[in-house]
């Protein structure tokens, strides 16, 4: 039989591994969503660059497809694990978050397309960074990296090159971040 000190150490090992499993499952699910949003954002930025007149349609499509895709990923994950991750409550939180961004960008302020591209990216990255405080440092690293590259683009990438820059930095950043998170 072991003593209480050894028993405490064994329970601490169990707690540690349970935390790791929990984080691993969060990263696995988040990486799938991040890659999906990354592809959508990449395509929308490139489409806006090539055919700017349809910009609002493209970005509306990004939100609709992104939400539908998030539900689909969540449903597939639920079938495998029994845990639902993207439900109506998360959808409402997401819509409130978007509504507040819309209020800032279109009502309180009147942002130029360049400012909007920057604002929406760093606004969503703020959400990632906050999520990282609870769910793991990878979210914070990805958010800070994309925010920094977005601001570099805003201040130093001039003219039409800004949209392809954002496609790579925001869309590509989410895809690379998602792949990295999957391996973490």
């Amino acid at each position: 039989m072991i003593d209480s000190k050894e028993a405490s150490a064994a329970l601490a090992d169990i707690d540690d591994i349970v935390q790791r499993v929990r984080q691993s499952r969060i990263y696995d699910l988040a990486s799938q969503m991040m890659i999906m949003w990354g592809v959508l954002v990449f395509v929308a930025n490139i489409a806006t660059w090539l055919w700017p007149k349809g910009a609002y349609t493209y970005w509306l499509a990004v939100y609709v497809l992104g939400i539908a895709g998030s539900f689909a990923i969540s449903a597939a994950n639920q079938a495998a694990t029994g845990v639902r991750s993207f439900d109506m409550r998360v959808l409402l939180a997401f819509l409130m978050f978007v509504a507040f961004g819309f209020l800032c960008a279109h009502v309180l302020g009147h942002f130029t397309p360049r400012q909007q591209g920057t604002f929406w990216t760093i606004y969503f990255m703020l959400f990632y960074a906050l999520a990282g405080l609870w769910f793991g440092h990878a979210f914070v690293v990805i958010a800070l990296g994309i925010t920094a590259l977005t601001l570099i683009g805003y201040f130093f990438v001039t003219g039409d090159a800004f949209l392809p820059w954002m496609a790579v930095v925001n869309g590509g950043g989410l895809i690379v971040g998602g792949l990295w998170m999957r391996r973490s």
């Binding site: 039989m1 028993a7 064994a10 329970l11 591994i17 499993v21 691993s24 499952r25 694990t81 029994g82």
Partner: protein, 99 residues
């Protein structure tokens, strides 16, 4: 008085069972993910999974995903029960009821 489970008590097997027990029932972990979570080597992990499988505590499923072999390990109901009893015994020891 409850006894510690000798099969689960070994440190790596305790980690394996803790990881599998943290998942919903019937959900398993791939060998590679389990290796990363526990920090074990291939050979060591494989040997301990075999011990747990022989005791009926885990089920091992080998399949091909594309051309790659994939091994998934899942805690059985027997394994989950044994793990719960083991944890309860550890808590009793800490509480001073045993030891």
């Amino acid at each position: 008085m409850a006894e510690l489970d000798d099969i689960i008590h070994q440190p790596l097997r305790l980690k394996i069972m803790a990881a599998l027990n943290a998942l919903p029932a019937a959900t398993g972990l791939e060998f590679a993910r389990l290796k990363k979570l526990t920090g074990a080597t291939d050979g060591n992990l494989g040997a301990h999974i075999e011990t747990l499988a022989k005791a009926g505590y885990v089920a091992v499923d080998k399949a091909f995903v594309g051309k790659k072999p994939q091994t998934t390990v899942t805690a059985t109901a027997t394994g989950r029960g044994a793990f719960a009893r083991h944890v309860a015994t550890l808590q009793e020891i800490i509480a001073g009821k045993q030891g």
